[in-house]
């Protein structure tokens, strides 16, 4: 163990991190799953959704943007935190239009999978049923605004991975929307189906055309194992 090793506890479990890691990165490496939506391991953190909020040294903070520090005490798997996370997930459901029953992402959707993991049965908040357009102007990609949860993954991927500026947010608060950098919709942007921005969306907002329902029921990503279990599997005792 060298001086660069940072040690801290998460729910009483001592874990190690290297300098520069965020709390969520250190936990991922140590096999502790912190629920998250906007965080993507290949993208710069954004602290957008607050689902990863943990109690860190007695104060709540987003684990995806908090650097790991020596001796910090992190609470992750607590009822109040999970209640807050469930409330955030619920708001995302009711603020969009999410017909999971026929959605192309069902079983492969991080929002839905988190709903299941956090025990969101039926939203208590009223559905807002926003009228949002479906952008089908691109020959290979659909932008289904009904499903967008404003996580900014596509914005970050387009800018930093693809070197483009296809996506951005407009408006504020409840009126905030994803938009593209062309008047005529996605079809008039520089977006290509092979772009990183086309594969990072956690829900069914950005979808490749004609590629849906190819994975059967029971074999989709979160049918096979619940969200987070790949991370938690790293902590499983070896047999």
């Amino acid at each position: 163990m060298d001086d660069a090793t940072i040690r801290f506890t998460v729910d009483g479990i001592e874990i190690e991190a290297v300098a520069g890691q965020t709390v969520i990165e250190a936990c991922d490496a140590a096999g502790i799953y912190i629920p998250r939506l906007c965080h993507h391991p290949d993208l710069a953190p954004a602290g957008q959704c607050r689902v990863c909020t943990c109690t860190i040294n007695g104060r709540n903070g987003a684990a995806c943007v908090t650097p790991a520090m020596q001796g910090m005490v992190v609470e992750n798997e607590t009822k109040p935190l999970n209640d807050d996370r469930r409330a955030i997930i619920e708001m995302l459901f009711v603020e969009g239009n999410h017909p999971c029953v026929y959605c192309v992402a069902s079983g492969d959707c991080e929002l839905q999978a988190l709903g299941y993991r956090l025990g969101l049965d039926a939203p208590k908040q009223p559905y807002l049923w926003p009228g949002r357009p479906l952008d089908t102007t691109h020959p290979d990609i659909i932008l289904d605004h009904d499903r967008c949860i404003l996580c900014s993954r596509c914005i970050r991927a387009s800018r930093m991975e693809d070197g483009k500026t296809v996506f951005g947010f407009e408006g504020r608060g409840i009126a905030m929307r994803l938009n593209v950098d062309a008047q005529g919709g996605l079809g008039e942007t520089q977006m290509a189906a092979i772009d990183r921005a086309a594969s990072v969306c956690p829900v069914a907002c950005i979808v490749i055309k004609r590629d849906s329902y190819k994975v059967p029921n029971g074999k989709r990503r979160f049918d096979v194992s619940p969200i987070g279990s790949d991370i938690e599997a790293k902590r499983m005792p070896r047999t």
Partner: protein, 483 residues
């Protein structure tokens, strides 16, 4: 619970809720000046919205979306829409593995849905009698009197559901089809699990048919005459004229078994069938164009499937059909209660087809999806458990559905159900009272067609049956509600 309202003296009767029918119905019986039954209408008063709802959605989503319009035969809609989307995707013939997977799922669905209608819904009337007390006239009552029926009801249905789950991942609302094919083959594990039980299922379907025949033979006059009339029929038939529930061309015959049309490709259905809208029902009234609205109505479903085909390509069902057709003394079988006998033969056919497919190695093939050149329009027709089901879509350049027309089986039977109800009213209405007996008989007549009202009108939810009696001026004489 029953409630009777008598208002303004003896003039109009309404019966509203037909139980053991999916959705809800309302029957109005209109009397003439002389107090005789002049007209009976089976209204469907639910809201129809699915054709609009799917406009704007991507075409490959449709097979998954439309199955949500029905909790009873979702698989039929999944398959019907998928076949239409094959056309849109430019694929005229899917791979053998894809077609056989779809057929396997379809036979599982028709088997289980027909089992529900026959055992759970109809057998209480047929085996216990139309007038048996309502507390007994249910599947529990049947199981007490005929324990083997309970076993058949549970296990034949369950087997059909297992077939659906083995092909589409779950028992209801499965996902198997994508435009141009399917997303999986049949696992060896599922194949072997189904093979283990399939002989028993075939046998139980045969046993159920034998029991039903004993009912028919002990009530011949009732069976022959109840709610019955000669009619035209329509169904898909295969290229060889044999029964084909999944694919083929449309054949329609008149009451004398003279073809009205045959060999009609699905894409041409609108040249032969017209849909009429009437103000008092959300359900459309299709009729055969060449015969006009007065004479062009027809029946679909198991009775039509047997009447329209030349033979059945599985041996046990074919032998059963030969015996069944003998009822027609050289002609067609027209009796409405024969729907149930025909339904049992369809079940045998499905069980036999499932057995045949379970020993076909094509089901383990890996060539699942084909692609082609996109087309703007697609029509497909299958024989759902309740009969001919037509799915018709147009798609714009951006792959969004721009138009949809669904003619579901229950809609095809709309006029016939009205006629059956009228016949029952003429026979069983005495005076101006809606008796329990009249209610029961109306229900039995409607149930022979196994109508699926929420599906026919694309509504969600379930409601009961109401029967109303009206006088010649349309004033209500009586209403009776059955929950």
């Amino acid at each position: 619970m029953t409630d009777i309202e008598l208002s303004r003296g003896p003039r109009k009767i309404v019966i509203d809720p037909v139980t053991r029918v999916e959705g809800h119905g309302k029957v109005t019986i209109r009397l003439n000046e002389a107090g005789e039954v002049e007209q009976a209408r089976f209204h469907v008063v639910e809201f129809r919205g699915f054709e609009r709802f799917i406009q704007g959605r991507m075409y490959w989503e449709v097979p998954v979306i439309v199955q949500r319009l029905c909790g009873i035969c979702p698989v039929s809609h999944h398959l019907g829409a998928a076949k239409a989307m094959d056309v849109i995707a430019g694929v005229d013939q899917v791979t053998p593995t894809a077609e056989k997977m779809r057929r396997l799922m379809h036979y599982g669905q028709v088997l289980q849905s027909n089992a529900v209608n026959f055992f759970h819904l109809a057998s209480p009337d047929l085996l216990l009698g139309f007038d048996a007390p309502v507390e007994q006239r249910n599947i529990i009552g049947v199981m007490n009197a005929f324990p083997e029926v309970g076993k058949w009801a549970i296990f034949i249905r369950k087997f059909g559901q297992q077939v659906i789950a083995a092909t589409g991942g779950r028992r209801i609302h499965p996902r198997l089809c994508v435009p141009g094919g399917v997303n999986q083959n049949l696992s060896i594990e599922n194949r072997d699990m189904l093979r283990k039980d399939v002989d028993q299922i075939v046998q139980w379907c045969r046993d159920a048919l034998e029991l039903h025949k004993s009912f028919v033979h002990s009530h011949e006059a009732l069976h022959e005459n109840f709610a019955s009339f000669p009619s035209s029929y329509m169904s898909l038939v295969g290229a060889d004229g044999g029964m084909d529930l999944y694919d083929g061309t449309l054949r329609a015959i008149d009451a004398d078994n003279t073809p009205i049309f045959e060999g009609v490709q699905p894409a041409d259905y609108a040249d032969y069938i017209v849909e009429e809208v009437r103000s008092w029902s959300y359900m459309k009234f299709p009729h055969i164009r060449s015969l006009g609205r007065e004479h062009g109505w027809y029946r679909v479903g198991p009775l039509a499937q047997l009447n329209c085909c030349a033979f059945i390509g599985t041996p046990i069902a074919n032998a059963a059909r030969t015996e069944f057709m003998a009822q027609g003394r050289g002609g067609l079988v027209h009796s409405t209660l024969s729907y149930h006998w025909a339904r049992l033969i369809c079940m045998i056919h499905c069980a036999e087809k499932i057995r045949e497919l379970l020993f076909d190695d094509d089901l383990q093939g890996t060539d699942l999806v084909l692609t082609g050149t996109r087309r703007p329009e697609g029509v497909a027709i299958i024989e759902a458990p309740r009969g001919t089901l037509i799915h018709h879509y147009t798609v714009d350049d951006n792959d969004q559905v721009s138009g949809a027309n669904l003619i579901v089986s229950t809609t095809n039977n709309n006029e016939a159900m009205n006629r059956s109800v009228k016949q029952v009213a003429v026979e069983y209405l005495t005076g101006h009272e809606i008796t329990e007996g009249l209610l029961n008989h109306i229900e039995v007549a409607i149930r022979a067609y196994d109508p699926c009202l929420s599906c026919a009108t694309h509504a969600i939810g379930q409601m009961p049956l109401v029967v109303t009696l009206e006088d010649a001026d349309g004033a209500v004489i009586a209403t009776r509600v059955k929950q």
